[in-house]
Symmetry: C2
Subunit: 297 residues, 2 copies
Amino acid sequence: MAYDGVETPHGKVDRMLGGACTYISLAASYFTRVNIVAVVGEDFEQPDLDLLSSRGIDLTGLEQVPGKTFFWAGVYSEDMNDRTTLRTDLNVFADFQPKLPESYRKQPYLLLGNIQPELQRSVRAQMNGLRLVGGDTMNYWIADHRAALLETIAEWDFLLINDGEARMLSGENNLRRAADKILGMGPSTLVIKRGEYGAILFRRDGHFMAPGYLLQDVFDPTGAGDCFAGGFIGYLAGQGVNPRDGNIPHQDLRRAVIYGSVMGSFCCENFGVDRFRTLTRAEIDARYQEFKDCTDF
Amino acid sequence: MAYDGVETPHGKVDRMLGGACTYISLAASYFTRVNIVAVVGEDFEQPDLDLLSSRGIDLTGLEQVPGKTFFWAGVYSEDMNDRTTLRTDLNVFADFQPKLPESYRKQPYLLLGNIQPELQRSVRAQMNGLRLVGGDTMNYWIADHRAALLETIAEWDFLLINDGEARMLSGENNLRRAADKILGMGPSTLVIKRGEYGAILFRRDGHFMAPGYLLQDVFDPTGAGDCFAGGFIGYLAGQGVNPRDGNIPHQDLRRAVIYGSVMGSFCCENFGVDRFRTLTRAEIDARYQEFKDCTDF
């Protein structure tokens, strides 16, 4: 969980609620009950806790410790396809050792946000009775912590990454070849996110392509990938999927990709988490139907 | 019709059959009978004419005149998303004034390849009894011949362009806004091609998104956009669509976009037109089914 400073062509906010855990949990909360594990500093504000609580998110695993909350600041390019990081202050995140509350350990679904692979692995090791586990990573871990990352994802059912990360992880430029290699690393399901161009779900026996939602205005793309992850795992958890031998029903996985895309698209419609202050499940289902209508032939 | 010199990361060919008319007519020939209007020079070779004839393409409107055939040479970037033109020799194309044979003038469907807008307009003016007309253009005509281009497309039912051209023509960066503006210029149907990311069909009452086919290897993307156009108009002509007040049935338009995507994808599988030497309608229909399977949810 973090505070972010963000500048896009539509405006600038110096400090607002952010962080992968925030976006993932808000997005997932529309589909299932969510328990979070994260760390914040003494500066973390009550209204931000209240927003999460208002969505029914269980904060038992949220540690508040002396020091300041993780802070990130960045500025987006005119077309918002690129961003430059201006500042990253790890603060209390530097010494974070996630410990799961007893009440979390028997949960069946686990989504590991982008963090050191060793920590992702330690969280997974604290769970008993997982039905489905997966997560996200980023270029830094792929390039500089490759061995640890490979050990970590070997234990996952699914991996969610963007196209650049898939190319980097596999060493293949062609996405189909990249996916083949990554599916040999452990996860039986790979979702490659392509930003405004949508997402592709890869399994050994085929793939599924979801278009990117055509937004009229993109205010702030920060958190869109995490909201995709939240919608994806949230939908699967809400359905109560129970994979046997790693086989999640195909139709559920495809729908999870669409719900992920829906949540990512809403995220871009306002700065930071603001869209989630008013978003309703009815709006989500209406947009899901829009995806159906604009892809049917 | 042209000869092309092409270099991609997969190889180099100094001189091979090319040109918009060639690609469009080959692709369309799998769906309907095709009549072409074009010009070539004395150097045009019999085996190239034979390839077109073997696909049942009517060459009555193909002029052969003194001089050399149009020649283009280019080299593609490593990821094949960019290309640099090395040479453009207009040759016999410089003085081309297309004249339609009498036997063509009552045809119901017309696809105008990328050429001077005034010539596209003169071809349209020679037709009697058109049911459906549309075509392609490029950045050069949009930037430097805007008035003539706007007069020309005002008479079209559909326009097929890529995303960069749509942004240039509309002055809008967002594709949804760009499409709104272009649909105010005359065509009731707009297809925006996005290369490997697929295509979007826009109409006043909604849009349809087709993914790009995930090729394992892209050998040579030359002609893929023209093959898209050929598959699109070829399918609509083969169906015998008969729009009233500009209303082409939605399902036919959507399927035409998929067949366009299918033909564009096959084009990339080999150098120049080589894929069309062996391609069968059964392979086309199998790939159409693949599009259905990988987008259904």
